[in-house]
């Protein structure tokens, strides 16, 4: 899932300050799962903004909408009938959602309410942890399903470094050392031979591409 966090209200206020009619658009997918941009959060933010405007004696009109997915045209299309009636769209989608909406409505003004942070998992209620950097060249099969690029603060393919202590990373004592995890799991499953070789440098072109990366699937096209 893609995780995000709400921006400070002051930053959001500054972005929408010039406008009176605001369409607040959430997304029911990833950012709803991480409690940042779903229907509830849209309601909360809208409520706070309304009260804030009234406190300051400003006139603010808000419409709340939450799309099932803010990054797919078929869902974004639901905004078509309203978008012209509003001065600005305050998106609670991830960066992909914000940009997708802007692309569908090139004349509309779209601003983000969230800081998109990482691809991760819901570890427990209220805790999300990054575990994928989308490097485009997954090596989890060699590393006991622990990603060294994401999990190791130095992204070492041939770790651990000298800062691994008591299973923790020296950079943050609350973070497990990814390499300790890799070694423990490989030991337990009798696959330590996977660490015999020196893993070569990563091919970062698969992550950085030449500008934005694309996936093209002819079989999926209509």
């Amino acid at each position: 899932m893609i995780t995000a966090e709400r921006k400070p209200l002051s930053e959001i206020k500054e972005m929408i300050a010039p406008y009176r009619k605001v369409l607040v658009v959430g997304c029911g997918s990833c950012v709803a799962e991480c409690a940042a941009g779903g229907e509830k959060e849209v309601g909360l933010l809208a409520s706070a903004l309304r009260m804030d405007a009234r406190t300051e004696g400003r006139d603010l009109e808000i419409k709340e909408m939450t799309l099932d997915r803010q990054c797919v045209y078929e869902f974004i299309d639901q905004l078509t009938e309203f978008i012209d009636q509003y001065d600005v769209v305050l998106s609670l989608g991830c960066g992909a959602g914000v940009q997708a909406v802007a692309e569908v409505f090139p004349r509309a003004i779209i601003v983000p309410a969230l800081n998109t942070t990482f691809v991760g998992e819901t570890k427990e209620a209220g805790l999300w942890v990054e575990n994928c950097r989308g490097c485009g060249d997954c090596k989890l099969g060699f590393f006991a399903a622990v990603c060294p690029i994401t999990g190791c603060a130095k992204g070492l393919f041939n770790g651990p470094c000298g800062g691994s202590q008591d299973g923790k990373c020296e950079v943050d004592p609350d973070t497990p050392c990814a390499w300790q995890l890799i070694i423990t799991r490989l030991e337990e499953s009798g696959r330590m031979n996977l660490l015999d070789k020196v893993y070569p440098p990563a091919d970062w072109s698969k992550q950085q591409g030449r500008g934005p990366r694309k996936i093209v699937r002819e079989d999926q096209k209509i």
């Binding site: 393919f157 041939n158 651990p160 470094c161 000298g162 660490l195």
Partner: protein, 307 residues
Amino acid sequence: MKEESRLKNVLQGGHFAVTAECGPPKGADPKAIQKKGKMLKAFVDSVNVTDNQTGVVRLSSLAACALLLKDGLDPVLQMVTRDRNRIALQSDILGASALGIRNILCLSGDHQSFGNQPQAKGVFDIDSMQLIQLVRQMRDKGVILGGERLTEPPHLFVGAVENPFADPFSYRVLRLEKKVAAGAEFIQTQCVYNIVRFKEWMEQAGDCGIPEKVYILGGVTPLKSTRMAEYMSKQVAGMDVPDEIIKRMKSVPADKQREEGIRIAVETIQALKGMKGIHGVHIMAIEWEDVVPQLVEEAGLAPRPTV
């Protein structure tokens, strides 16, 4: 033609090597590094120059090495993978060799979050293991990553570090073995305070035949005070300062603690000298380089051999 690495000659000549670490200044003045070089020259075989250690911006290792070289020292260029991508690293490897630098120590580097630029982007395009392999490939095969040929290969004696005190302990020797397989020719270890544990690690390394394949220099850092000992023990991950050492430091009054620290360091050097498979010591006197001559003399390692 090309000057050889003095460190390599000392080690190959069967001498017990002495290297010292030297931190470049936080400024552009060359005198600071030249002063340290002059002071160390007669007492050590080679001088390691740190590469923005702990992520703190300092005069570049490459430039400091060039300054030391001019003054007749044999510098060891420390190179971390934290700050530069493979293009910059390979370029600096060639540059170092062209300047006449003959030793390189490959490290990943302290994480940028510890230094004075915590908002920097940590590069880590490649890791220390890959850097070792890369320098060897450039030197021995004359090719860079991707296979393109060099007009002239770099001439460098290739070193790596290992921390016997970090976890997982059982993997530490395997990792050392991997570094040797990657092409490390000498190893400088993390500073040793726990001789017992270090010996255990060396025995494991001996069982794997590692000391026959690589020169191992044990790390020594003299303690300045009880506070420093406690800090190293508690705050620095992968550092093992046993309670006895802390107690020993505590047992003397504050104004005698430096002397006690020196005594402990001398004893450590002597213990390392007597240890099978150890080929030298690497003295890392943090912001206290002027103690090195005394340590070397008291440990009976002066004068240094002519090679």
